[in-house]
Symmetry: none
Subunit: 224 residues, 2 copies
Amino acid sequence: MRILIIEDEHKIANALKKALQQENYAVDVSYDGDDGYAMATTEPYDLNIIDWMIPGEYDGLAIVKEMRKAKIHTPVILLTAKGTIENRTKGLDSGADDYLVKPFALEELLARVRALLRRPVDVQQTVLTAGDLSLNTVTFEVKRGNSDIKLTGKEFALLEYLLRNQGKPSNKDMIISHVWDYNADVLPNTVEVYVKYLRQKIDDPFKTKLLHTVRGFGYKIEAE
Amino acid sequence: MRILIIEDEHKIANALKKALQQENYAVDVSYDGDDGYAMATTEPYDLNIIDWMIPGEYDGLAIVKEMRKAKIHTPVILLTAKGTIENRTKGLDSGADDYLVKPFALEELLARVRALLRRPVDVQQTVLTAGDLSLNTVTFEVKRGNSDIKLTGKEFALLEYLLRNQGKPSNKDMIISHVWDYNADVLPNTVEVYVKYLRQKIDDPFKTKLLHTVRGFGYKIEAE
DNA sequence: TGAGATGTTTAAGCATATATTAAGTAACTT
DNA sequence: AAGTTACTTAATATATGCTTAAACATCTCA
């Protein structure tokens, strides 16, 4: 699966590229509109991720319009800064298939990419488990054994990430880039604090611990 | 199940496409009549959704007539702007199977698509329940225990949506795209207000509450 | 052993999500 | 045309969640 990213903010473009590559997509990046337009119309891609506001003769919207005019119906996800509702309709009007407002969490983008590329449903598990701990990504329910556990949004996102990477330690930078918005300037200490919150809820009341610190490498979920 | 949409308003076409894809249909879109006509008569589809007023040599009505002349009996849903009754008969006369006046709520379209594709009956329940609450999608009656509850149109649509997704929280964006017209620009706060109205009617007078807030994730209906 | 590095904990201020109320519009009835 | 009902928004209040700073604890390696 080939994906083209057209985005002038290098930081964002590279973060997206990295994340998508980790999911085994082949990713090309263009940092300006003219170049991006040329690539989008000449190379065969399975998906385009295009920023609305980019320098060059073509902005994101124009690229989408030209693509559609040229009968290129590759799915497009449009990115834009926190905008008005009018923006949203305009974006979808142009022929884009989906629309994402910055800042967004990487996981959110990945979910939409999967949706547009119609990855088989069974690839994405809805219930993640480790030992007697279970997390349901549809109902957002978290349980340990029979007891319900209530998590906040961030706690849930953190636990989900750790469960998806079960057994292998994730360092704080990794966690920040996956659980927080791509451009969030969050201190590593914030992760530490959230780990504490999580432990309070999923480990402290129980005998066997699941969330482990791997000093120097990060944190991991593991059931013995 | 393959569905073809012939509709020149990109915004509508894309909204429909997305909604239908979420229901696991394979969807193709054509933005003009000539192209659409070619696709409808050469490719095998299980259903066509065709706008009446489209640019090109063929308008929607003509496409349906030509299809029928060519003995292609794929079900057709015709879309049209707020029209006269005369329109309606003309439309069904032409050989269309159903007829929908814009603007319409997505759920309405989905219901008709399901009906025409004869999805197994048990998929579309006519009475939805949660605890002692019941909602009849045919008679529009809502009851809790023995007491009748009167809801307005939007309140009803909201409750129906939540009941269909019972147990799983729906966030405001989801609710807006399913309960309001496809082109409605409605603020998230509107959903909050409607939740309040609903609660006043279905929860406040009763001891056990059914409509729950799941902070950070949305709202859900759930009976313990 | 002890100094620097890494991880833990607590509490407080700030930010955001949700709830509530009221008032303005639009649509429908009589 | 006036009155009613439904719909949506704006303004405000309240609750909860998020993030940081700073103090404390533990580990590692010279």
